[in-house]
Point group: C2
Chain length 269, copies 2
C-alpha cells in the first residue's frame, strides 16, 4: 500500500486533479502520465481513445501503481470499463465523482453540465447523474473554447466573460441550481463561470469542480480498500509523451505549482 | 501527369487550402489526407512532427500522387526538408507562398504574421520573409484561440471580434501594412480580422490569406514542372485517420462545400 497512485490524462489538464489530490491527500506519492504527444483525445473516436488509454495505463501499471485515477473526462466517458477489465487495480474516473457532487448540490433536481463536445456527445454525464437519481433533469452544454482559454491563461477579463456568457445563456431557461464543470481544464475558469452564473441566473447556482470531487472520493476509496500509504510520503513524478514549447508554463498553470520542482520524464508509447 | 495532387494536413484545417486550389485550379484531381487521429501537431515537438509527416506523405506517395502540397503550417515549418529528401516528387509548403505574398503586399517593409504558438516559436515566417527580403521587419503574434473559433464556426460577432482585437492590438505600434494569416484555420476568420484591422490600425493593412497564395504558386508550379493534367478532370478524395463526432460539419466548414459530396475513407497509419 506504499506504492504510488497513478493519475492519467490525455494531456496536462489532469494536473488540476493532481492539484486537488495534493491539497486533500498530502501523504501519497503520485505518478502522473500525460499523453501530450496525442492530446486531445476529445476529438477522437471511442475506439481510438480506448486504445490510447490502455497503452497509457499499462505504462503506469508497469511502474507498480496501486490504483489508477483517470483524470480525463473523455477517457472516463468511454474507456473506464475496458481499463477495469484489463487492469487488476481499482480505477477511479472523474465523471462519477463529479456527477455525484453535482446531484448532491442540487435541490431543484435540475443539473447543468459544461464539457467538451466529445464528452457531451458521449452522454456520460447524463448516464452518471441518472445513476444517482433517475428523476434528475440534466442539461449539457459543450464549451470547447474554455480549453484554449485555460491553456493560454486567459482566465479573467472580457474574453472569457463573453465566452462564458455565451455558453451559460442557453442553460438559464432550464433553471438549474447546480452546474458541473465536466472538463479538467475548467477549474481554472471556475471564478469567471461563478461570476457570470451569478449575473445570468435569477437564483443561486452551485458550480461543482469535478477535480475536487474526485479527490474527495479518492480519499474515501483509499480507506475503503485499505490502500492508504502508511509512510505519509508526499511526492509527484510526471511522465509525458512529448514536451512541446510552452509545456512547462501550461503544466504549472494547471498544477498550481511550478513544474520545475518535480522530476519530469519523457516516455515513448 | 494525370496523377492526382496530394494535399496533407495534420487535421481538417488544410481543407481551406483544398478550397483555394479547387477555386483556382479546377482541372486537377486531389487526394487530401488529414491526420485527424493525431491532430493538432502544433503542440508537438519538431521530432514528432517530422515522424508523423513522413508517415502521412508515404501514404499519399503510395497512392501515386505527382506532387505534395503540405497544407499545414506546423509541418511546413519543420518537416519540409525531410519530406523533400525522402520523396521523389515536388513538395510545396504553405509558409513560403504566404511569406512571398505578404512581402509583396507590403510597401513599408513592416509585415505582421498571425499563427499558432508552435509556428510562431519555430521562427519559420521570419526566415521565409527574410529570404524574400532581408531588410523586412517582421512581427509575429500567436493567435491560438482562432483555431477553436474557426472549428466552432464562431466567425462573426462579439467573441471573435474581442479575440481579434486582443491579438491585433500588440501589432499596432509596429505600423505593419501587411498581415499574413499563418494558419490554415484563419481564412475563416479573415472577414473579422479585416474589420478589426480597419478599426485598430491608423492606415490600411492588407490581410494575406496563405491558402490562396499557396494555390497561386501551385498553379505556376504545375506549368514550370510540366505536371499539369491534360485531362482537366476535377476530383477530390478525402483520407482521414479518425472520424470524430462533428467531423463532417467541421470539414465542410473548411472545405466551403459539403463533405458529403466526396468519398471519405478512414485509414490506419
Amino acid at each position: 500500500m506504499d506504492e504510488p497512485i497513478g493519475v492519467f490524462d490525455s494531456g496536462l489538464g489532469g494536473l488540476t486533479v493532481v492539484h486537488a489530490i495534493r491539497e486533500r491527500i498530502p501523504g501519497e506519492r503520485l505518478i502522473y502520465l500525460g499523453d501530450t504527444a496525442r492530446v486531445p483525445y476529445g476529438t477522437r473516436s471511442a475506439e481510438t481513445v480506448v486504445k490510447y488509454a490502455l497503452a497509457c495505463a499499462r505504462q503506469l501499471v508497469a511502474r507498480d501503481v496501486k490504483m489508477l485515477v483517470v483524470a480525463c473526462n473523455t477517457v472516463s466517458a468511454v474507456a473506464l470499463e475496458a481499463l477495469r477489465e484489463e487492469l487488476g487495480i481499482p480505477v477511479l474516473g472523474v465523471i462519477e465523482p463529479g456527477a455525484r457532487a453535482g446531484a448532491r448540490a442540487s435541490r431543484s433536481g435540475r443539473v447543468g453540465v459544461l464539457a467538451t463536445s466529445g464528452t457531451v456527445s458521449s452522454g456520460a454525464y447524463e448516464r452518471a447523474l441518472r445513476a444517482v437519481d433517475p428523476s434528475l433533469q440534466v442539461v449539457t452544454q459543450a464549451a470547447p473554447l474554455f480549453v484554449p482559454l485555460a491553456e493560454e491563461g486567459w482566465v479573467e477579463g472580457e474574453v472569457p466573460e463573453r465566452v462564458a456568457e455565451r455558453y451559460l445563456a442557453p442553460l438559464v431557461p432550464h433553471e438549474i441550481d447546480s452546474l458541473v464543470l465536466g472538463c479538467t481544464h475548467y477549474p481554472l475558469l471556475a471564478p469567471v463561470i461563478r461570476d457570470v452564473a451569478r449575473r445570468l441566473f435569477p437564483s443561486e447556482v452551485t458550480v461543482v469542480d469535478s477535480a475536487a470531487a474526485t479527490a474527495l472520493e479518492l480519499d474515501r476509496l483509499l480507506d475503503e480498500r485499505g490502500l492508504r500509504s502508511s509512510r505519509g510520503e508526499r511526492g509527484l513524478e510526471v511522465l509525458v509523451t512529448d514536451q512541446p514549447g510552452a509545456f512547462s508554463i501550461v503544466a504549472s498553470r494547471f498544477l498550481g505549482e511550478s513544474l520545475g520542482d518535480f522530476p519530469v520524464e519523457s516516455i515513448d508509447l
